[in-house]
Amino acid sequence: MKWIGEQTYYEVLEVSPTATAKEIQMAYEHAKETFHSDSLAVYSLFSEEEINEIQKAIEEAYRVLMDEALRKRYDQSHFQTPGGEKGGKPSEIQGTPWEKKTALSFTDLSIDAGEEIYRGKTLRQIREKMGIDLKTVSAETKINMKILEWIEEEALDKLPALVYLKGFLRGYAQSLGLDPQKVVEGYMQFLNESKKR
């Protein structure tokens, strides 16, 4: 029963100390979606000040845990055993298997990326933070590496027709565990804004 200031970074994001980068990314996005002043889930429960405090803690936890060197240093200073050892709390974000089984299954988290939209550069940053290389995404999604590179590089003149692009974006999003709909919407928004300039 710790207040946010007393929680470890893992507890802030509700992940296990052995969480992968992908799990941390998903947990971060879930936390951002949950703890902002417009969120239904915090309505009438937290004061504005408390939400700000939690938001800062989430950002700081994410910053450290997504950086390999910082995370290692943090684990060494906070835990008696290295972070790689099992024994931490089970990951909150995974839930029990049944939570993902039904027709409207909770598969991908919807992301409120705040001011950012899912442009190519943002997607690459997320992918790199997760430690996933493009080759893996290509193998998993069966999308040509070149196309994935163009998406990330925002090579507007080389991108395929919209109908194909949207499909590729969905595949890319799914392989990173992101919400496909949000990613497609974000990238389309970026394209529209780029055309206006």
């Binding site: 029963m1 946010i4 879930h30 703890f35 915090v42 429960l45 004061s47 049944w98 939570e99 039904t102």
Partner: protein, 311 residues
């Protein structure tokens, strides 16, 4: 015939939280039917103050016997007011009278009722608490093996649910501590603008630690052992589903408790159609999306208590 592995151990679930309209009676009736179809004995108890309508969801006319008859000693044993529902393994106990009005019902009567409910012969007992968060409603919620909160993805419903949860949580803490000053502190902290500056459960714990370490340990233990459940009703999108997970996280951050997200029920026109026809959804339209959701939740409840199937 399915049997509970622990035949003398009944499981009591209470469904509460928030005002009317969140779907408590709907879910109580339909989950009760699903469980009874698994072959276990189920009793549904309707304790809704002035708004008892569980019988309507089951398609039964207003019953002649109710909890009032027991409380007012017109019958001597609670099982005498059990009503058959026409559905095998399922019985109903209704509170069609104003039974749980805190002003009318003395605490000794409420304790007698609680004790009598626990003595009923059944595998499962589902108690529809209705709206509000009077002390009797809170005590029923806390006495069960699992308190279930029904919420819809709307600010009013969420606000009511949190209000209920706070009341239940603080009542549980108050019941667990022994020193009078700590009990008083807990009472004071229910008012967010209290003079001691206690704004949340964490502030409360720090204040209690300064007064009584043993009670502080009790508070920590009660918090760790308090696992209410959540069902999200009238879900219309994936974003709505995610609100359940967000509520779970928010509860953990605020109370330090682990709320269990039991599941969700999609918004489905078939629900109001079945209510109008006074027929339970899971019997009337088994293939509807909402019925599928209810069955999923019922089977999770059954699995949690390891009902074995011996066909």
């Amino acid at each position: 015939m399915a049997q509970a592995q622990n035949e003398d151990r009944k499981i009591i679930w209470t469904i509460g939280g928030g005002k009317g309209g969140s779907g408590k009676s709907f879910i109580t009736a339909n989950i009760g039917i699903c469980l009874s179809k698994l072959g276990v004995r189920v009793i549904l108890i309707d304790t809704d103050l002035g708004g008892a309508n569980l019988h309507t969801f089951l398609g039964i006319s207003p019953p002649s016997l109710s909890l009032s008859d027991f409380i007012k000693k017109r019958v001597s044993h609670l099982q005498e007011v059990l009503i058959p529902t026409g559905i095998p393994n399922l019985q109903l106990l209704t509170g069609a009278q104003d039974l749980l009005n805190a002003a009318d019902t003395k605490s000794v009567q409420k304790r007698k009722l609680l004790h009598s409910i626990q003595s009923l012969e059944s595998d499962y007992i589902l108690v529809d608490l209705g709206g509000g968060n009077s002390l009797s409603v809170l005590d029923f919620f806390l006495m069960s093996d699992g308190g279930i909160l029904m919420v819809t993805p709307e600010p009013t419903s969420i606000e009511n649910t949190y209000r209920f949860l706070k009341s239940a949580f603080y009542r549980r803490l108050r019941q667990s501590v022994s020193s009078y000053p700590v009990k008083t502190l807990i009472d004071e902290s229910m008012d967010r603008k209290n003079e001691m500056g206690i704004e949340n459960p964490h502030d409360l714990l720090k204040a209690v630690m300064r007064i009584d370490e043993e009670d502080a340990k009790r508070i920590i233990e009660e918090t760790e052992n308090f696992h209410p459940n959540l069902i999200l009703n009238q879900v219309r999108s994936k974003k709505d589903i995610e609100i359940g997970f967000s509520i779970r996280s928010a509860c953990h951050k605020y109370f330090g408790i682990r709320l269990h997200y039991l599941g969700y029920v999609v918004y489905d026109q078939e629900v109001s159609n079945s209510i109008r026809r006074m027929r339970p959804l899971v019997l009337e339209n088994t293939q509807s999306r909402a019925a599928q959701c209810v069955r999923e939740i019922a089977s999770k409840l059954a699995n949690r208590h390891q009902i074995s199937f011996q066909y």
